[in-house]
Each structure stands twice: as structure tokens, then as C-alpha cells.
Symmetry: C2
Subunit: 243 residues, 2 copies
């Protein structure tokens, strides 16, 4: 209790929230890379001068937010952002049997530019800030079915536009190369008619109803790190949500 109270006497809120913030900061700062085990609860409690119960409450909260994973008898681990795991968590399209669809990506086009007004608003940027724009097609069984236009703020991702190899999941690259952890996304879904451009890219007739998914992505600190608009032709597939 002593150390923490002293170290954080300016902070607000309950002890466990402060413990959670400390652990989160160390993870976000790269002290404990994904996949590594955190110190045991008792050890963290000793280090921070709090009881085991308080540490437990903080780690439980981080477990709910999928920042850490707990394995009984083994330890508490920083959540792994493997490509498969990321797809599972953030790719929300399922086929008619209820199985999640795992798409392939075609090579992408990268460009950089000063952010326009919409991009500044969606990514919380200031005038003059630059962005990286990515355009790609995703395929399913060899056939194109989804068009992605992705916009990233350039500042946290220096040199990303020069990447030669484009992984199937961007979020894996974010984490491994730039130490940016995707924490959550918000999606706005609508139905739109395929424009000539989209019809051509997806191999459907102009006017075909497409699902438009407008996604904002946040990192562990709540910063916006991606704006993505996907257009999908869902043949015997659907977007899935649980309320």
C-alpha cells in the first residue's frame, strides 16, 4: 500500500484501477511483450505494496478487455496477437453454417498524403498531419468479395508505406513492427448499391447490394489508429453481432 500510495498520490480512483493502469502502461510500453508471462499475483502485490486481492481485481479487468490471458496453474500472459487470433476477433463475417470466414488478401497499394478533412475528423488529426492510404481486395476461395480502403495516421507508423511484404492481417504488423496494440473497434454498417468501380473490382453488376462496413480502430490508450471502409459482396454469408 505504501509505495503505491506514495507513487500515485496525485492519481484518482480506487487502488485496483491504479494497479490496472500501471500494468497497462507497462504492457503498452513494451516492457512485457505479447506472449510473455506477467509476474505472479503475489509478486506484483509485493512490488506494488497492495494485497493479492487488489492485484487480482486489476488483472480480472484486463482479462475482460482481452489485454491479458490467464491460465490456471501456469500464469498470466500478455494477450498474443497472432494473425489467426486477430482474424478471429475482428473479422466479423460468417458463412451460412455459422463458421467464420477467413479471407485471403491480394497485394495492396500504399500511398501517403496530407489528411483531408474527413480523414482528420475520423482519425482525430490536425491540419497538416499526414496519412497512409491502403487499398486492397480480399478473396474467398480465390474469388474477390471485399474491397478495403484503409487510412492510417502516418506518425505512429513510420515507414509502413514502404513495407514490401503485406501480411494478411494488418493488426499483426501493427503490433510486431510498431508496438501498437489494437484494443477495440467500432463499426457502422449500411447497405449500398455497387458503384461502377466497386462492381468492377468485386466482379458483380453495378447496383448490386453490398454491405458497407465503416470501422474505427482504437489502441490500448484509446487513440484512433485506423479508419477503414470495407465493401463486401456477401453471397450466402453475413455480418454477425451479439447484443
Amino acid at each position: 500500500m505504501r509505495k503505491l500510495r506514495v507513487a500515485l498520490e496525485e492519481n484518482s480512483g480506487p487502488l485496483y484501477a491504479q494497479v490496472k493502469a500501471i500494468v497497462l502502461a507497462r504492457i503498452a510500453g513494451g516492457d512485457w511483450p505479447p506472449g510473455t508471462a506477467l509476474p505472479a499475483e503475489m509478486e506484483l502485490a509485493r512490488e506494488l505494496g497492495v494485497s493479492q486481492g487488489t492485484v487480482r481485481k486489476a488483472l480480472d479487468a484486463l482479462t475482460v478487455e482481452q489485454v491479458v490471458v490467464r491460465r490456471q496453474g501456469s500464469g498470466t500472459y500478455v494477450a498474443e496477437h497472432t494473425p489467426a487470433h486477430m482474424q478471429f476477433r475482428f473479422f466479423n463475417i460468417y458463412d451460412e453454417s455459422g463458421a467464420q470466414i477467413l479471407p485471403d488478401s491480394q497485394p495492396a497499394r500504399f500511398t501517403t498524403a496530407a489528411a483531408n478533412a474527413v480523414e482528420r475528423r475520423r482519425l482525430d488529426l490536425s491540419e497538416g498531419d499526414r496519412v497512409i492510404r491502403i487499398s486492397r481486395i480480399r478473396t474467398r476461395g480465390g474469388r474477390p468479395f471485399m474491397d478495403d480502403r484503409i487510412v492510417l495516421p502516418e506518425a505512429p507508423f513510420p515507414g509502413l508505406a514502404q513495407e514490401t511484404e503485406m501480411p494478411n492481417t494488418l493488426y499483426d504488423l501493427f503490433q510486431k513492427r510498431y508496438r501498437i496494440h489494437v484494443a477495440r473497434t467500432e463499426e457502422q454498417v449500411t447497405a449500398v448499391a455497387a458503384t461502377a468501380r466497386l462492381a468492377d473490382r468485386l466482379g458483380v453488376r453495378a447496383g448490386t447490394p453490398l454491405l458497407a462496413i465503416d470501422r474505427t480502430t482504437y489502441d490500448l490508450n484509446g487513440r484512433r489508429i485506423e479508419w477503414r471502409v470495407s465493401h463486401a459482396y456477401l453471397d450466402r454469408a453475413h455480418y454477425f453481432a451479439r447484443l
Copy 2:
């Protein structure tokens, strides 16, 4: 510890899970109607023969599932399913400014029939079971924008087809008249072209892209209590999901 252990010695799992199940059963059984206060933690603990911490863990889990609401200094209350609250929780359409849309309902048509094969599959029914089919239009600012086709199993809702007054939110009726508490929904979302029938009902041209929302609704016990397919014409509005 004594009473509970004896009463539930055949049960499995940790104590707090058993406490949670007991409280849930009493709520679902109508012992504590929505809006009423549960006994205080200490009292529940005494009644059930467990410690306050164990009761707390059970109530915390029920809070996460939105079955109860806790108010510091006041008490723990069975979640209220007011019309406004239900709309807020389960109507997932927002306008361009990010405000939730609160639709009006037109009078609905009710029919009853033996469940067909699809309905039996979607509602977990047996051959010969009957269903109630409801068809209605929802409006926004006086203009129709959503067509609902709702199917309910008849058994838990006797006499519902004869209701003269149709509330704006069905779920409120479920709770007040039939003591069935909506716990969660799963939704499959796709984009479809408006058929002639839908175009006519929604006042759009045939072929207009519509959002099709296919919802399955579950009660507190995990039983399927509703299958609903909505078709929406979203003009400057969107379906919203958080991942």
C-alpha cells in the same frame, strides 16, 4: 455454507455460480419482479449460508449480464425493462450524428399457424408446435423505413395473438404480461435488393439496397423466444456494432 452445500450437493461448479443460479432462478420465476430491490448482500449471504464476498461475485456477474443493476448506498435491483430501456439496448440503428433512432410502430397483423420447417429450426420447436406470426412497419419521422416479420413460439405466449393493443416494444409486453425476460440477441446482417413487396411497403424502388437483419432472441434461461427478420432502408443512418 452449510445450507447451500446440502441443498445443492448434486450441483457442480463453484459456490458463487450456484448462488448466481439461485438468484437468477428466483428472478426468472417472478419472485422478485423488475424494479424491486434484492435483499442486501449480507442478508443474502446469511440466507444462503455463504460469505458476503461470494454473494458479491454472483451479483457482479449478474450485473455484467444486465440482469440486475447496483446502486451504491441504495441496493441491488432487478433490471427494469421499460420501453425506453429496451429500445436503447436492442435497437441498434443510429443516425449520422451518432444518436440512436427511436422508431414508431404502425398497428401490426397477427396470425397463428403450425410452425414450418424453417421456423422449427430457428426456434428449436418440434413438429406440430404452433407459432405466432407478426408483421409490422416501423416509421421514422412519419415515413416507413423498416419492415419486421416476427415469429414467436405460441406456448410461452398464450393469447398474445389476441392482444388488441400492440406496444411499441414487444419485449416490454413479453415481460409484463408473460414474465419472459429478454436476455440477449444474436443478429445476422446482410445487404439485399428490395423485392417488389418490400419496395411497396417501404416506399422505395424495387432493387434498392436494404439492410436485412435476422435476429434470434434468447430469454434468461437461454431458450429461443423470438425469430425476427427486419428489412431497413437506412437513409443517412447505420447499424452499429462494437467489437
